[in-house]
Amino acid sequence: MADKALFEFLTRIGDTTLVLGHRVSEWCGHAPALEEDIALANTALDLIGHTRMWLSRAGEVEGKGRTEDDLAFLREAHEFRNYLLVERPNEDFAVTITRQFLFDAWHRLMLISLQESSDQRVSEIAEKASKEVAYHVERSTDLVVRLGDGTEESHRRMQHAVDILWPYTGELFTDDETDRELSDRGIIPLPSSLEGEWKTHVDGVLSAATLVRPEREYAHKGGKAGVHTEHLGFLLAEMQVTHRAHPGATW
């Protein structure tokens, strides 16, 4: 393979936006307010747009002729490289928005850094995606603050969301061999290098939201290596069903 490490990275980020886009799209027509229906659909749309760029590029880098759709619809769960955080179920609006916030804060920093990538295509995609993600982070930050510091119930739900999602954030900042190789080549930042700024941002927002960051240090890991939670298989069964039921068809 032309560039195994780069392919790996491109599926990590592309699968992550794909899976999160799927989760967010599950809200369509079921959001707490009409404005939220629109905003959630818009976020999902942006993420699917990013996915198309990342996975198309992954297919090119791999050089086996796989398209964005081959990668999205014809791989099994263990071939997916998304972070575990984004496959967590929506549960309620609190979990959905908190997941989005924790992710957006990382996504923004990652994309800013990727704009400096030595790989031209990576930097171009990052630049395009950055504009939308700047808006995502603004929106989810705002909602976290307002719902954290809202009613007693909204506060309780938001704190619960932070508590259950927190153990899935550590994975965003782990470095492995692929990361180190690509970082040495100037293509991506070391994930661990983003942690400080992320924590500063998150801590500030949580504090404005009167929410408490959990003490617990334990981090679930595995997504980057294809070891997922039990949720991903069900998500993919649904996502891939139409494509798989009609092998070779065009749409």
């Binding site: 369509c28 079921h30 229906d37 659909a41 818009n42 999902a44 307002r146 719902l147 739900r157």
Partner: protein, 313 residues
């Protein structure tokens, strides 16, 4: 009543009526009913299509469908705003929808059972909607007219996308062609029913036409729709499920069969395949979202209080 006559005069001259201006109560009520029903249809209409977002066959189709469903929510928003100018709040309209007092287009009480249904909805349902809506761009009520101009542009875009889905299927594998034919068979009659009952059985019509809230009769629009759509079906090599359908050289139009009005009234009265599901989903979304709306309002109140306190210091 001279006031009413003057009002009618303005309408007859093609003037637009604006929210703050005098209007007969009947005009206001009719518009509120019609605009809110239209808004509800956009909102409920998210559900049958939203049902296939997670199962779209390619990423491009997924993105297009997401954008479309987002547009529909946006149309809902314009329309609720237009209705609000008539003195009803969005929450009141929701309450009417959730309690079953307000209607939405009965077409959305049919299920989406395959990907082809997404094509068929774009092609037929949006096609029928546009047929209904184009004249509404010239509606006498300003805000509604302006909302419709914006909406019609996006709708015709959606319709082309729907037709494009159908084209791909009809040029595709045998299974895809069957899927397309099956979708046409299930959506054809419900689409014809979107224009409402036959003129003879239609209430509200005459007054609405005089007020230029409505400009064509149900049957006229239905005929137009058939005349436009049948050649498209021919082009797709799909068979319209109507044994009575044939070209009438004399009229320069298609003759076609009678929809099953029993089914129509059943669906209208709550006995469609998905009435309970659709309304249930909206009520659940609303109820489950109560804490979010309350949280946001509570925050806004706190924030306002803090700002006031800060200003007072």
């Amino acid at each position: 009543d001279p006031q009413e006559r003057a009002f009618q005069g303005r309408i007859d001259r093609g003037e637009k009526i604006e929210p703050k201006e005098w209007m007969p109560e009947g005009y206001r009520k009719t518009l509120i009913r019609q605009i809110s029903q239209h808004a509800h249809s956009e909102i409920v209409g998210q559900l049958p299509e939203g049902n296939w977002i997670t199962r779209a066959p390619t990423l491009e189709r997924k993105a297009i469908l997401l954008a479309k469903v987002q547009d529909e929510a946006g149309h809902g928003l314009y329309l609720y705003c237009a209705a609000e100018t008539l003195g009803i709040s969005r929450d009141e309209m929701f309450e009417q929808l959730h309690s079953g007092r307000a209607k939405y287009s009965s077409i959305f009480n049919y299920p989406t059972l395959s990907w082809a249904d997404i094509g068929a909805i774009g092609w037929l349902v949006d096609g029928a909607a546009i047929m209904n809506q184009v004249p509404l761009q010239r509606c006498s009520f300003g805000p509604y007219s302006r909302a419709m101009i914006r909406i019609c542009k996006e709708e015709s875009f959606h319709q082309r996308q729907g037709f494009d889905i159908m084209m791909k299927l009809c040029k595709g594998t045998e299974a895809q062609q069957k899927m397309a034919q099956d979708a046409l068979e299930r959506w054809w009659w419900p689409s014809l029913m979107m224009f409402g009952p036959a003129d003879g059985d239609s209430v509200h019509s005459a007054q609405s036409m005089a007020w230029k809230i409505k400009q064509d009769t149900n049957d006229e629009l239905r005929q137009k729709f058939v005349d436009q759509t049948v050649p498209q079906a021919d082009f797709l090599d799909l068979k319209v499920p109507d044994p009575d359908l044939k070209w009438n050289q004399e009229r320069g139009s298609y003759d076609f069969g009678e929809p099953d009005w029993d089914e129509f009234f059943q669906v209208i009265s709550g006995n469609g395949p998905c009435n309970e599901e659709r309304l249930g989903a909206r009520v659940k979304a609303w109820d489950d979202g109560a804490w979010v709306r309350e949280g946001l309002m509570a925050h806004a109140r706190k924030h306002a209080r803090r700002t006031t306190l800060a200003a007072a210091e």
